[in-house]
Subunit: 323 residues, 2 copies
Amino acid sequence: MQGGLPSLELVERVCSGERRAVARMLSRAEAGGEEAREALDLLYRRAGRAHVVGMTGVPGSGKSTLVAKLIAAALAAGRRIGVVAIDPSSPFSGGAILGDRIRMGEVSGHPAVFVRSMASRGALGGLAPGTLEAVDVLDAAGYDMVFVETVGVGQDEVDVVRAAHTTVVVSAPGLGDDIQAIKAGILEIADVHVVSKGDKPEADRTVTDLKAMLGLALPAAGLKRPVPVIKTSSARGEGIGELLAAIDAHRDHLVASGEYQGRRQAIRERRTLKAAEQILHEEFERHRQGRMADLVAELAAGTLSPQTAARRLVARIGTEIVP
Amino acid sequence: MQGGLPSLELVERVCSGERRAVARMLSRAEAGGEEAREALDLLYRRAGRAHVVGMTGVPGSGKSTLVAKLIAAALAAGRRIGVVAIDPSSPFSGGAILGDRIRMGEVSGHPAVFVRSMASRGALGGLAPGTLEAVDVLDAAGYDMVFVETVGVGQDEVDVVRAAHTTVVVSAPGLGDDIQAIKAGILEIADVHVVSKGDKPEADRTVTDLKAMLGLALPAAGLKRPVPVIKTSSARGEGIGELLAAIDAHRDHLVASGEYQGRRQAIRERRTLKAAEQILHEEFERHRQGRMADLVAELAAGTLSPQTAARRLVARIGTEIVP
């Protein structure tokens, strides 16, 4: 087994903040399987103190640079920061494309920062194992804030970001209509909006447009609290402190209003669903030559529709799983 | 029940190519449920003749305009064309954002064309019901080619496009680095590559870059056949005929090489998996207050991890589903 360290000992070391144990635990989570599950179950009960902040935005919004600036500001305020950077990855190799986030720059070497890049897609397809659990690991390791950063265009990525207490959606001026349409799909999940590249002349217009869109869209979505729109410029270092303050204010609002418990529960339920989908996916991929044999044969004959085959698949896997 | 028409009669009318029956069947598929499933199972056995072409590309690639031009070319060749246009949609309302594809322009009114816009996300989240089945409906209705068009950045959208016999990935010159990274995730699924906006001066460079990238990436992915890269200009109407020819050539290659059966089977299996994930998702959403109650309570207490809750969920739903 990887590392060979018993789960209980590894978990203790993670919880005492030992950097190498955190790295090892994250690798174990990524590898998946029984051993990972045991350790993660232990860790899960020790997590729950960190403020988890999801950061997403359309491609080209300069999100990674912004996250680096934000971390620098949080470090200056004396906080310990964990970062889970979700990379788009190849559906064939499963590997992360961007690898170590060079854009995180100097902050990634800081002793109070732990950055981990993770591929969004596993070797068997679906969300990569350990992606959501990485947040628990950093949380249990005592990081005050855990940022989950992703290019938020895919559903997997949106699901990851929604497993955060506070979700920040980054827009940039002048990215074209097609992109705006995509963005509309993630507009409603934002607790804080950012318009990046605030030094561009079109930025003020983007802020105005966004506020107008939010004014129209949010009452329909049943949101009560006005969502702040913060203009930032990574190049000029402007708006970063305000953004950190807005993120803190959102957490304070959740706690003061009593919404915090409800949100955490919604996150747990979404994560459960996501994990269930993953189990099904992995079981199917792993056993498609074996126990799926008759489904495969009937599918090949064209006599069984995918919809009906799917119902049989769920029933069969369900009876074989011992929780 | 919607429409009230018995499944068998509706299916017969669809198979005879009756336009209103096709529209009604698509609405029934979108509504989902038992009645839809019955009709779709009947239809599924009548489908299998159409050449299904998936078209995807990054936002801003001008894909919709290109599809309209391509349809016009296929119509000129005497073919009947079905189009399923997958729209990004709001995770809250579930509604399609782009609505009727105005960019399809004049071809959408042609008697030998049937265009249907579908939302990518259902009201309960997950892929919208009927999205993949819409292809079967148009196939069974006798359309020679069925195009499935989507902005291919999300996993749901990629899954939809991969349910095609021939997958076309559209790139555009000068869309920036972040977008290229995303695109890398869909590069390998292409059977035909298009560089759109061929009238732009940077287009030749994009073609060269893409060919270089394919030369490096594809042997590693185990692909034997060189993937054509076609430069098109919708504005000038250039390259459209070549694109149609490349799509036809790919189908001919699949048939001649014997790969066609294997690919169809892979599609059926992927669709089964996708449908299984959807069943699980919908069951969870539908019953989270009822039969999930004890899971929810244990999750709320923080004693049960989402991973372990997920295993119980799959087991429970499995035993409750009667295929």
